[in-house]
Every structure is written in C-alpha cells, then in structure tokens.
C-alpha cells in the first residue's frame, strides 16, 4: 500500500488511489476543490483544472518533482509521493487563474439563479476568486433550452464539466446529449428534435456544479436557503428511494438525491444513490414519504444559516470557546445572538 504525504499529512492508501481521493481521506482541510470530478462517475475529472496540485516528490524510487502542476483527480499516488496543495503559493495562484477563467464567460446572475446557495462555482469564487473581473468583453451567450419537460439547460452558466454527459452515459440507458462545437463556443446539446426522456435523466440536475441544468418544477419557487432540507425515503421499484425533501412551510418544493460533504450523491452499500424521475418530480407531498429526520448541512453553507442543525453546532462552538477562556471569564452574549433568524447580529 503506497504512502503519500499531502500538505505534511501522511496517509497510507490502497493501490490505484488518486491524489484527490487520498486527500479526501485525510479531510476537507487538505482536499483540493473540484468542479468536474465526481467520484461516482467513471472517467470524470481532469477538465476544470481547479484541483491542480504540486507534486514535489514523485515517489520513493524516483524522487524527482513533476515538472508541471498535475490534476489531482486523475493522477494516481505512488509510494513516497509528496504533494503540496494548500501549502503551495504557486498552486494558489494557478487555482485563482482557473477560477478567473471559469468566471470569464460565466454570467454573474446569481441573484436570479436557482443554484445560488448550493453552487460549487460560487463557493470556489469566494475561496479563490477576486472581487472584480479583468474580462471586459461581452460574455458569450446561448439560447436557453428546455430539454424535456422537467429540465432546463441554461448554457450560459455551463462550465463544461462533462458530468451530465457522463451521468447520461453511465446511469441512463441511452445518452442523447453531448458536447457540440469546440473551444469557446462548445456547448452541451441534445440530438436535434430529441429531448432527454429517461427515468434517470433528472440526475443530471444533481451533478451539475453550476446553474446550467435546473429543475423546471423548482424554478423561481424559492431561494434554497429559505427551504429546509429533510431526509426521507419511500419504497421505489426503480431506485433506492432515499431522497432529500426541500420544504418551505408544509410544502415540498423539490426533491433531490442526498449529497455527501463533497457535494456528490451519497452511496449506500457501495451503490450510488441516484434517484428516478418519479421520486424526483412526481412525489411532492409529505404523505408520499417516510421522514428520516433533518438533513445534515455543513455549517459553512448558506443553507445552514437558516437551519436548525446549525444552531446546535454554533452553540457547541461558543461553549467550547467559552470553556477555553482562562480564569473562567464569562462572555455575555446579547439577547437573541444565537437566533439565526436575527438579522441584526
């Protein structure tokens, strides 16, 4: 089993593990961000270049560094490999460059985009991007397209991660969409006159890292951070039936697959929990589902700002910090400070 050191942390991993997977095993502190890689989809990754890392020692046998930064999602670890991710200033600069490229033609329409709040590009932009763009030319534009009656393609927002193409290839039994044209004007498109019509086609919405593929039944219904995610299940003959319901009041606004801490669809007993279109689009009442409980949402997500789970975590942190103060000093919090709905704090 090869041993790899990433940002100073050494871990032993199975043969054939990629640098990115090894970094994820260590934890989110050292894991590079990803836009196109999706662990549940074969041959995904390598396109967006956000997960670039520096390999400062190739392996135990051949300690030479790799001449160029490598895509960690597609590079396998070697025994004795030393990788620099967050510790390398040049990687930070390279990543900032990639973010700038991804945003160069991306419309800044977050205020009207359904993906806002759960958009990977937004997160990446906050982490590595600049507050203003140096791209001063008109952005490229495409017509908005309905592909099927439930999915809308907003090509302007697409970053060509190929995830939806690979999902259609590997999850549905017939892929009818792909990438047309090349270079800057390459676009996701369906065969002429064909729409995506397949029981599992809705999963392309879940894998899309940006707002290019959105759920038409949810469009403009609510900002995601005003909805409350709840895990639920039902017996479904087509899929695993394990889903996340997004409530506003008593109404289920949308149904998605459950996602893990990397923003990918969760796996159950080694099988990826893709959900079918019946569960996703047709079962939108509480009566259809057995509720498992509130979803775990990362405290860093804007969705958690309005979420009951976060409150507990927030309190725990404050208590821990209070305990850590010397001489038992007491910190008094103002009235309503722990109420996440309190905008004034």
């Amino acid at each position: 089993m090869p041993k790899v050191t990433i940002d100073g942390v050494t871990i032993e991993v199975p043969n054939g593990t990629t640098i990115l997977e090894a970094a994820r095993m260590i934890g989110p502190e050292v894991a590079p961000p990803t836009m196109c890689y999706y662990s549940k989809l074969e041959t995904s990754g390598g396109y967006c270049r956000t997960c670039l890392v520096k390999v400062s020692q190739g392996s135990e046998k051949d300690p030479r560094p790799m001449p160029k930064p490598v895509a960690s999602c597609r590079t396998q670890v070697m025994d004795g490999m030393v990788v620099e991710n967050n510790t390398s200033p040049e990687i930070h600069e390279a990543r900032a460059g990639v973010v700038e490229f991804l945003l160069a033609n991306h419309p800044l329409d977050c205020p009207v985009c359904d993906q806002a709040g759960e958009c990977h590009l937004q997160d990446l932009g906050y982490e590595h991007g600049k507050s203003e763009t140096r791209f001063e030319f008109p952005r490229r534009e495409f017509e908005r397209k309905d592909i099927g009656d439930k999915i809308q393609l907003h090509m302007n927002r697409c970053i060509l991660c190929y995830r939806c193409v690979k999902t259609a290839d590997q999850v549905t039994d017939c892929r009818v969409h792909g990438v047309m044209n090349r270079g800057e004007v390459a676009e996701i498109s369906t065969y002429i006159e064909k729409s995506i019509d397949n029981d599992f086609s809705g999963n392309v919405i879940d894998v899309c890292p940006v707002g290019a593929l959105t759920d038409k039944t949810f469009r403009f219904q609510s900002r995601v951070w005003f909805t409350k995610p709840v895990d639920a299940h039902r017996d479904c003959v087509k899929c695993c039936g394990k889903v996340r319901l997004w409530y506003k009041g008593n109404e289920v606004l949308r149904v998605t697959a459950r996602k893990d801490q990397w923003g990918e669809v969760e796996s159950y007993d080694g099988k990826t929990g893709w959900i079918c279109n019946t569960c996703r689009f047709d079962k939108k009442t509480t009566a259809d589902w057995t509720i498992d409980g509130p979803s775990k949402i990362s405290r860093h997500s804007v969705i958690s700002a309005n979420h009951y789970n976060s409150l507990k975590a927030l309190k725990a942190t404050i208590d821990r910090q209070k305990d850590a103060l010397p001489h038992g000093e007491k910190v008094t919090l103002g009235h309503g400070a722990l109420d996440p709905n309190n905008e004034s704090k």
Binding site: L52, G97, G183
Partner: protein
C-alpha cells in the same frame, strides 16, 4: 551541399509511381528488413541512429518504440500522424505529395519492427488531394505484393489504411488523433495511460510523424550508425524545414541538423536571404507555437556563438533567449512586419482550434485573442499588455494537452522580446496606420523575463 536522405530523388520525373520509385532503389530497404533482419534488430538500428520525433517534441523514436507494451494476444498498432496543421509547417505535405512511397515503405518497415498488422495514416482533412495520392500509392503497393498477406514472401501481413480527419488542429495531438480515428470527438485524452500502453481501441499503439517514419527507411538501409554520423550531438540526421515568410526562396529544404541559422537564411543553397534586400527582424523557428526570436538572438545565441539549426542549438538559452526546433516551420519576418499583428493571427488560430475541454485553454485563448485585437486596433492600454502576460502564464503548463502551451508561448515570447512594439501600439492609439513608421530594427530591446 548537405546530404539528402529523404528528398534525394525528389526531382526525378514520375517518382510518385511505384515503378520509378523502385528503379531508384525503392523498397530494397523493405526487402532487407523482411528477409535479413528481426524486429529487434530494426529497433536497435533506430535506437543507434538517435532519430528523434520530427513532429515537434523531439522525443527519441527508438525509446518510444521500446516503451510499446507487448501483451500476448493483443493487437498493436502503428499510426502515422499526418495531421500537419501547424501554421508555417508544410514539410509532410511536400513529402507525401512528391514521394509517397517513401512513407509507405517506412510504414511497412516500422510496422514490421513493432509487430503491428494493421496501420493507419491519419491525414489532415484539408489534404484530401494528398490522401488521394497516398491511396493510389497504397493500391500500387497492394498490387505489387508489398502490402496485404505474406509481404514479399516473408510471411508478414500488414494492412495499411488512410483516414482523413475533419479539419481540427487538435487532432494532431496524439491522443486526440486516436479518439478521432476511433470515430469519437477529437478531445485529447488524459495521460497516463500513454498510447504505448493503451492507445487505439485500448491497444498498445505508437504514433509517429510522417517524417519520422520516412526517416526509418534510410536508417535501416544504411544502418543507424551511419545516420548518427550526420548531424550534431544528440540531433542526428537530416530534417525537413518548411521555410516561409519574407525569404527570397521559400520552400521545403532538407538540412543536416547543425547547420548555422545564418547560412540557412542567407546562403544561395537555401533561402537566399531576405526579400527585397530588407533586413531580418524576427524568426519563428519551429512552427507557430514556438517562441519568436528577434534577429540578433536567432543568428547568435546570448553568449555570442552562432546559433545552429538543431534541437539543442535552437533551445540554447531556454525560453529567455532561445526557442525550439519544433516541427521545422521556419517563418522569417522582415523589418516592416508587425509583431503584434502576426501574434494576433497566431492567437486567432489557437482560439479557433482549442477543443474546449479544459478551462484555461478554452477561456484563455479567446481572451488573449480579444485583447490582442483590441491592442492592434489602437484601443489597448499598458495594463492590457501586463494582463496578456498574466493570462499566458496561467495557461502554460496547466492544460491537459500541449495546445495550451502552444497558445501561450508565442504571446510570452512576443512580449518578452518586443514589448516596446506593444507599447507603441498602445501609445499611438487610433492614429496608428502602419507599424513600420514606429518600429524599426534600431532599438531592439534586451530580453526581459
């Protein structure tokens, strides 16, 4: 007069046909290889010859061949890369058009050495008429028993096919070429695995340039040691150079590697000097993707030595003061040429040809082209020049395939060596009419890093 190995019989009338080619000793090498040599011996000869890939990267061919995996019961393929699309490079077209049988003979010998029973020539779509010439030559070879079953009674079988591309520069990248050959979208693959392990249809594959494969013929004919005698240092043998631009005699020349650049440009045997008695301003020495060099650096290295036409000679000084031999597309520019305009043309090409798979190249090439267009038309600012530099540095080395580098290097080198010309465009603004009034040879800058 330099030694000619590939173009020796180029002027013989009718050399395109099999009969004339055989009268001039054609296919004797194939006979020698099939009857008296083992594949291992041929590989040894190629290794001894020190032949390096003629497509641009200059990787030792013998080494590339020796990497080919040879699992039992799995087909192996040899693919000839005739997707010659680099602006300024037209040597392969010349070779295939004038003397197609040397490529076919080289393909058979190389396929025999690699143990391939099916081989392909992937030719650029715009070369449809060259493909026709190749098809005719292949038909002649089949008829003469030089292709097909039991070639020359040796028991070795080979089928050779010509596949025409659909007009994409990116398909000259070896893995994109293989994807295209398989009938898919021509996107470069992510490496590893390299084609030597999993190439065409997942089988071990060698992809070589036209000129490389043709060079195998003289190597096997006279022996690798004799080939290694020609040239200088690790740059052995002869190289086809496609000379274009403001030269008195542009065209394809076969040179012995190690020829001084000055002799190549100014001697009557080769390009015959700069057109209309003007002065040389700059040279792109190896096809549009290699760094451009100003006249004083292309004729002499930074140390003041005469610069030689060889892999090492042109690369002397790294990218700060050197360039690359590349594919041998030698573009000379006289004193009245505009570097910015020329660079915009190159950038436009890379913008158009980016496959769009990875983000730095997809977005960056278009961005650079737009900025250059803006500067060229007098709307640029000094900050734009810095921005260009920054963009190219963020593309270079960050992409899946070398197209990103190829788009970044010309921009980097033009700014490095000709920054004041960019500034001239910015300062003159709208009033700029013709660059020659503002930029002459008299203030050649020192290179900056």
């Amino acid at each position: 007069m330099g030694k000619k190995l590939l173009l020796e019989h180029i002027d013989v009338p009718g050399i395109q046909s099999l009969n004339v080619y055989r009268q001039k000793g054609g296919y004797e090498t194939l006979k020698k290889a099939l009857t008296s040599m083992t594949p291992e011996q041929i590989l040894e000869e190629v290794k001894t010859s020190g032949l390096r890939g003629r497509g641009g990267a200059g990787f030792p061919t013998g080494l590339k061949w020796s990497f080919l995996a040879k699992p039992e019961g799995v087909a192996r393929y040899l693919v000839c890369n005739a997707d010659e699309s680099e602006p300024g490079t037209f040597k392969d077209r010349y070779l295939m058009e004038k003397i197609p049988h040397i490529l076919i003979e080289g393909m058979i010998v190389s396929s025999f050495a690699l143990g391939a029973n099916t081989s392909y020539i992937y030719i650029r779509g715009e070369y449809f008429y060259v493909a026709r010439i190749l098809e005719n030559a292949i038909a002649e070879a089949y008829e003469a028993g030089l292709l097909g079953k039991n070639i020359m009674g040796s028991g070795y079988d080979l089928d050779l096919y010509v596949q025409i591309g659909a007009g994409a520069y990116i398909c000259g990248e070896e893995t994109a070429l293989l994807e295209s050959l398989e009938g898919k979208r021509g996107n470069p693959r992510i490496k590893p695995p390299f084609p030597a392990i999993a190439g065409l249809y997942g089988c071990p594959t060698v992809v070589n340039n036209v000129e490389t494969i043709a060079a195998v013929v003289p190597i096997v004919k006279d022996g690798g040691a004799a080939y290694a005698q020609i040239g200088i240092g690790k740059s052995t043998g002869t190289k086809l150079i496609s000379a274009s631009g403001h030269l008195n005699k542009p065209g394809v020349y076969e040179i012995e590697l190690g020829l001084p650049v000055e002799e190549f440009i100014y001697s009557e045997e080769y390009c015959g000097g700069i057109k209309n008695g003007k002065q040389l301003k700059a040279v792109v020495a190896g096809g549009s993707s290699v760094p451009i060099l100003p006249a004083h650096l292309i004729l002499k290295t930074a140390a003041g030595e005469p610069r030689l036409m060889s892999y090492e000679g042109l690369a002397d000084g790294g990218f700060a003061t050197g360039t690359m031999l590349g594919s041998g597309g030698f573009i000379a520019m006289d004193e009245d040429s505009s570097i910015v305009k020329n660079l915009w043309t190159f950038s436009r090409f890379y913008h158009h040809e980016s496959c769009g798979q990875c983000s730095p190249c997809r977005e960056g090439t278009g961005w650079m082209e737009k900025i250059l267009h803006k500067i060229l038309h007098g709307h640029g600012t000094l900050a734009d020049v810095d921005l260009l530099w920054d963009i190219q540095s963020k593309i270079e080395g960050k992409t899946i395939c070398p197209l990103g580098d190829a788009a970044a290097w010309p921009v980097a080198s033009a700014i490095r060596h000709f920054r004041n010309e960019f500034e001239e465009y910015v300062k003159q603004g709208h009033s700029i009419k013709d660059v020659k009034h503002y930029y002459r040879l008299n203030h050649l800058p020192e290179p900056v890093n």
